[in-house]
């Protein structure tokens, strides 16, 4: 069981509260998507979970508190894909995926043969094997996104955090990336937390949604429970129509104000 539990989590930057006490649990193998307007605290929740932001309250992975872990111990349990990952232009695809093995290499150690096997295997599974010797500067947006995902999978962490994984991609590559995350979730038994702006996509892939507003958790539940016109208009200040398809898909469409 590698569930993620946030209890009374708070995040403060200086004297500004970015996240007010909130509690959320994601079951093992689940996918929770954080939604909410810009500045609602989605990124702060994820940065606290992977140790980048100091936090109050408790973050526990499979019952173990992250606050007591070293950076290496935490990195073996949580992989984080930021909104705009840094891709060094003159690094090879293979070397980049190998970075994911860092938490398993001792301080003065070096990359082992096993690390190379794992990296090769992941490149194969993510259809990136042909790119192995390519420089990162030569990759397209979709390929880069897949590569960043490959590095986070190489990390072998049971919890995967994705901060707006599809915001820079076209609709085809958005679908491709999210399908891949979903496939990896099932193949590797990952617990996924993502932040997304596209509410329809969020509802399509996540089991549960958590709506944040000004650092407060204001709604949580299945996509059909959270993606309701009255809730969205209250917290996003938008007027939307929501279609509930028979297969469970929820489609959110903004209403045009002038016609």
């Amino acid at each position: 069981m590698t569930d993620l539990a946030l209890r009374e989590l708070t995040v403060r930057y200086g004297n500004r509260d970015a996240v007010h006490p909130l509690s959320l649990t994601v079951p093992s193998g689940g996918w929770l998507c954080l939604i909410g307007p810009n500045g609602a605290g989605k990124s702060s929740v994820m940065r606290a979970t992977c140790g980048l932001a100091p936090h109050g309250g408790v973050i526990a992975i499979a019952g173990e508190e992250t606050a007591a872990m070293t950076a290496r111990e935490r990195a073996r349990r949580v992989a984080y894909v930021p909104q705009a990952p840094v891709l060094p232009a003159d690094m090879t695809v293979f070397d980049y995926v190998l970075l994911g093995r860092s938490p398993f290499i001792s301080y003065f150690g070096s990359v082992s043969a096993q690390d190379r096997v794992i990296a090769n295997d992941i490149l194969q599974r993510l259809d990136l094997a042909a790119f192995s010797d390519r420089m990162l500067s030569t990759l397209s947006g979709g390929e880069s996104q897949r590569l960043v995902l490959a590095r986070s999978i190489a990390q072998g962490a049971p919890v995967l955090l994705l901060d707006e994984p599809t915001s820079a991609l076209d609709i085809g590559h958005q679908q491709q990336a999210l399908e891949l995350v979903d496939r990896m979730r099932h193949e590797c038994g990952l617990t996924v937390v993502s932040a997304m702006h596209d509410l329809t996509l969020a509802g399509l892939y996540a089991d549960r949604l958590a709506l944040l507003h000004e650092g407060h958790l204001v709604a949580e539940g299945t996509p059909a429970q959270v993606l309701r016109p009255e809730i969205l208009s209250e917290f996003y200040g938008v007027s939307v129509r929501v279609h509930y398809d028979d297969d469970g898909t929820v489609v959110v469409v903004p209403n045009r104000r002038t016609r």
């Binding site: 070293t70 111990e73 984080y80 060094p88 003159d90 070397d95 860092s102 150690g109 010797d133």
Partner: protein, 325 residues
């Protein structure tokens, strides 16, 4: 697999270049080629000079590459945090005020003052930077370094302005860097610092590779970023201060050598650090040869040669490999 093997090829090539440079450095000099007649000159004048050039070049290149890695900026050199300014100020004080007092001392205080000046300046930079949040961001640290460097330069200018022409000339010569008075005792003096510093830096080459994706991502990959940064900065600074104390400020090596290595052998620090060490040593040995031959019996400062030879070479490389920078 291929990347690993290619790394060894480059390292082997660099070692061969270094060996060739040593031979050339020992063979060529105002006293002519190696023979039993001038063995005394070869052993006591030329060989320590070659050894010191190798040590200084290796250390400056390795420290430069490490600084570039830890600050994720290819234009950084090991003097970034004030090492040059501090060493220069220390040397200036000794030359301007201490020469008459210390002329009968057993130990020349000039290298000690330069060494101490460099360490003090970088420590001040680090403390100022840490006080204003450099733990999270290296930009604050770099800005603190700029401030400390300007301060040392200002004090130095003030001292020089009140000094005689002879002092100004001596300080100026020291600033340009020189290996003229190299002796085996200089080699023995700096070698321990350089060995320890190099060992620490080389041991962190994998960490520098992880840091290439930025502080935040490196932290989520299990790297203690601020600890690695301070270890690397301290090691690189101690090594730099040690070699500066005996050679003066030889510029350009710390930037151009890692760059050339990166363009040829790729950006991975697992390769850049050891190859820079060998290539830097070879480069400075070779740069010192015209230094002692061109204006014989006068010396051309080695800093002038490194810049004069290195800059055009660097420009040609930049032109041919534009895409990788």
């Amino acid at each position: 697999m291929t990347t690993g093997r290619r790394g060894w090829v480059w390292l082997l090539g660099a070692a061969m270049v270094l060996a060739a440079a040593v031979v050339i450095g020992v063979m060529i000099g105002p006293a002519g080629g190696v023979s039993s007649a001038n063995w005394n000159i070869i052993w006591n004048v030329r060989m320590p000079r070659v050894a010191l050039a190798a040590i200084v070049g290796a250390m400056l290149s390795l420290a430069g590459a490490s600084y570039q890695g830890v600050f994720r900026n290819p234009l950084v050199d090991p003097y970034l945090l004030g090492a040059a300014g501090g060493a220069g100020l220390g040397a200036t004080f000794v030359i301007a005020y201490g020469r008459t007092v210390t002329s009968d001392w057993l130990v020349d205080p000039l290298p000690l003052a330069a060494f101490a000046g460099a360490l003090v300046a970088v420590s001040i930079t680090y403390m100022v930077g840490a006080a204003f949040g450099a733990v999270r961001s290296s930009t604050t640290l770099v800005l603190a370094g700029v401030a400390v460097a300007s301060l040392t330069t200002a004090v130095q200018a003030f001292v020089l302005q009140r000094s005689s022409d002879g002092v100004v000339r001596a300080v100026y010569n020291w600033l340009l860097g020189s290996l003229v008075n190299a002796s085996w005792s200089d080699v023995r003096l700096v070698l321990p610092y350089v060995i320890v510093s190099s060992a620490v830096l080389l041991a962190h080459r994998r960490h520098l590779d992880v840091l290439r994706v930025g502080d935040d991502e490196a932290a989520t990959l299990g790297i203690n970023v601020s600890r690695v940064r301070i270890i690397v900065v301290v090691a690189a600074t101690v090594g730099t201060a040690a070699v500066v104390s005996v050679s003066g400020l030889i510029t350009f090596v710390g930037i151009v050598v890692p760059h050339v290595v990166r363009m040829l052998a790729g950006g991975s620090y697992r390769r850049v650090l050891p190859i820079s060490l060998a290539v830097g040593a070879a480069f400075l040995i070779l740069a010192d040869v015209p230094g002692r031959m061109l204006q014989n019996p006068a010396e051309t400062p080695i800093g002038v040669v490194t810049a004069f030879c290195g800059a055009p070479f660097f420009i040609v490389l930049l032109r041919s490999r534009r895409s990788t920078v």
